[in-house]
């Protein structure tokens, strides 16, 4: 892990009419870090992630991802990030291989490297023999892992995962986190939102969001000591109640 900041957010505000979804967010994420972006449903996690990905414009504030300004150059950010949405969004009526080929092609990979990456990623998931299956009939856990693989296919610098493990069984969740660690070891920065507090223990840094504001930010161990709690779960309850 270097000390270089790959995400820099300063006084980010996003309003929908009178409702403030993100209230003066300020934080930095270092290259190669796993950031757990925690918060209850409706705390403003997805809103923030969409702004960082360049598909939603902030009301005010400065946002820079992979060295590019999110307001001025959202398209340059898009080339350097991977994104996995809360809602499963690969094509259900295409086969696994066709989905990989499509997104590889969109990110400008050559036909040869599309083939190589598809094989490599599917073999890691032990799904290579299913490559000609249409996605529709596959179990949700498989689909989530495939969506993650598609998101890292073009070797992005930052991967945004919006509640990647919601609705997935504990075994698959565990496997999913192994994938996240592998990607992190390759030097990719992982930005993951979740409301499973046990997952937060796996992160290098956690951010606690309550009602549009970041209430706590730091390493899980330090935060637990600071607030005098045993687990991130207790920390969350303590912060959310106040």
């Amino acid at each position: 892990m270097t000390n270089e900041n790959i995400i820099e957010v300063e006084n980010l505000v996003k309003k929908f009419g009178k409702f403030t979804a993100n209230d003066r967010l300020t934080f930095q994420v270092k290259k190669g870090e796993i950031l757990g972006f925690l918060g209850a449903n409706g705390a403003g996690k997805t809103t923030a992630i969409k702004i960082l990905c360049g598909i939603s414009a902030p009301t005010s504030g400065k946002v820079s991802v992979a060295g590019f300004d999110a307001v001025k150059h959202p398209e340059k950010i898009k080339q350097n990030i991977g994104y996995m949405s809360q809602k499963f969004s690969l094509y259900d009526d295409l086969t696994i291989r066709e989905n990989f080929r499509l997104f590889g092609g969109i990110y400008g990979l050559s036909r040869k490297s599309i083939r190589q990456r598809t094989e490599e990623l599917l073999k890691r998931l032990e799904l290579y023999e299913y490559r000609n299956r249409i996605l529709e009939a596959l179990p949700l856990g498989w689909k989530q892992k495939l969506a993650f693989s598609v998101a890292i296919m073009h070797h992005p610098q930052v991967v945004f995962l919006d509640e990647p493990t919601s609705g997935v069984d504990p075994v698959t969740r565990r496997q999913f986190w192994e994938l996240i660690y592998e990607a992190s070891e390759e030097g990719k920065t992982i930005f993951v939102t979740t409301h499973y507090m046990d997952e937060a223990e796996y992160c290098d840094t956690v951010s606690m969001m309550v009602a549009g504001q970041i209430r706590a930010f730091g390493e899980p161990r330090e935060l637990k000591t600071e607030y005098g709690v045993k687990s991130v779960n207790d920390l969350f309850i303590k912060l959310a109640r106040n």
Partner: protein
């Protein structure tokens, strides 16, 4: 360009894998052409006539004979009172009542002038107009015959009307309607499929995954247009084949000109679909909006009634009706053999239209979620 290739490949895989769409692409033109061309006809083949002959002379019978002999009339009712004959009009069992007064023959031979009355059912104004025109022509024939009979064989009518119909010499209604139906077919396939396709991606959420990629807006638009453009052009070709095989559709002009114009026209039609899908969020919404435009455009397109006879304000509005241009041009090319020079105004209009509507579509398509 490589990116677009990948995207188009994806669209085709999805279209050919769709179990409802593929049969529809083939079934739609056959059903529409075979049924609509035969059913949506303005020709009056069977005009029901009720006769009220109060004269009962050979002359009056000769006149009735004239109608009976015509393939368009069916003289199947007779009555002695106009009141009762009117009842036939009321219950729709008759389209026209002919009332020959007593003394018809006597007046005609004696005073060289006689009256006869026709009552026409005008619920359908267009049909009534046609019946009137047919009837007038039969009566004028009858007049000529009387003149010749009275004045002897050597008499020649001062002015003889001798019509020849250009571009559709048999006045075959089918070959007039068929190109019109082709216009609707090609447009519906292109416009609907394009618009529904994009909105479906919005509903499924797959568009969000595309929006976070560095894909350019124009690439997105082109990739949605090309597959449906190819399908729409295929529909035109398929429809023309059906027309030639089953309806003796002529082709006076060149296929190259027709397909070139169709291509330009499709930029507008699909651009329209793209624009509507950019401003809609659900399939329901886009269907409803499109239905509104389609219905208005088709009725004002000139498929049934000439656009030139519409009021001025309607003709002004019609400038934005893409159907109107294509309806006009396809008939010009197929029936009249018009070339590029004859349709240059329409080509030019369509190009301007395409630039405007596609710019709007690209501008309105937001890469946001």
């Amino acid at each position: 360009m490589r990116t677009i290739g990948f995207l188009i490949q994806k669209e085709f895989i999805q279209i050919f894998r769709n179990k409802t769409m593929l049969p529809l692409i083939f079934a739609l033109p056959i059903v529409q052409l075979v049924i609509l061309v035969n059913a949506a006809t303005l020709e009056m083949k069977k005009i029901d006539m009720t006769v009220v002959d109060k004269d009962m002379t050979s002359t009056s019978r000769q006149m009735i004979q004239k109608f009976d002999g015509s393939p368009f009339y069916q003289v199947d009712k007779a009555n002695f009172s106009v009141k009762k004959a009117e009842a036939d009009l009321k219950d729709n069992s008759s389209d026209i009542v002919v009332n020959i007064p007593q003394g018809f023959e006597k007046n005609l031979l004696g005073e060289k002038e006689a009256d006869v009355q026709f009552l026409i059912n005008a619920i359908n104004g267009t049909a009534a107009g046609l019946i009137n025109a047919y009837t007038t022509s039969i009566i004028s024939d009858f007049n000529d015959k009387i003149l010749v009979d009275q004045l002897g064989k050597e008499f020649e009518l001062p002015v003889e009307i001798n019509s020849r119909y250009f571009f559709n010499s048999q006045l075959d209604y089918n070959i007039y309607m068929l190109p019109g139906i082709l216009v609707i077919l090609v447009t519906i396939i292109g416009m609907f499929l394009t618009a529904l396709n994009i909105v479906r991606e919005k509903e499924l959420g797959t568009i969000e995954q595309l929006n976070v990629t560095p894909i350019q807006k124009y690439q997105f638009i082109i990739r949605k247009m090309i597959p449906f453009m190819i399908i729409a052009l295929f529909e035109l070709a398929f429809g023309l084949v059906i027309g030639h095989l089953f309806f003796n559709l002529p082709m006076e002009g060149s296929y190259a000109v027709l397909f070139l114009f169709t291509l330009i026209y499709l930029l507008v039609a699909l651009g329209f679909g793209l624009f509507l899908s950019a401003i809609s969020n659900s399939q329901q919404q886009v269907m409803f909006v499109m239905f509104f435009f389609m219905l208005t455009f088709i009725l004002m397109s000139g498929i049934f009634t000439p656009t030139e006879s519409m009021p001025d304000w309607a003709q002004t509005i019609n400038v934005i009706n893409p159907f109107m241009y294509f309806m006009k041009v396809i008939r010009m090319i197929i029936l009249k053999g018009s070339g590029l020079a004859d349709i240059q105004h329409e080509i030019f209009s369509m190009l301007i239209y395409a630039v405007i509507i596609l710019s709007l579509a690209i501008w309105r398509y937001r890469k946001v979620a």
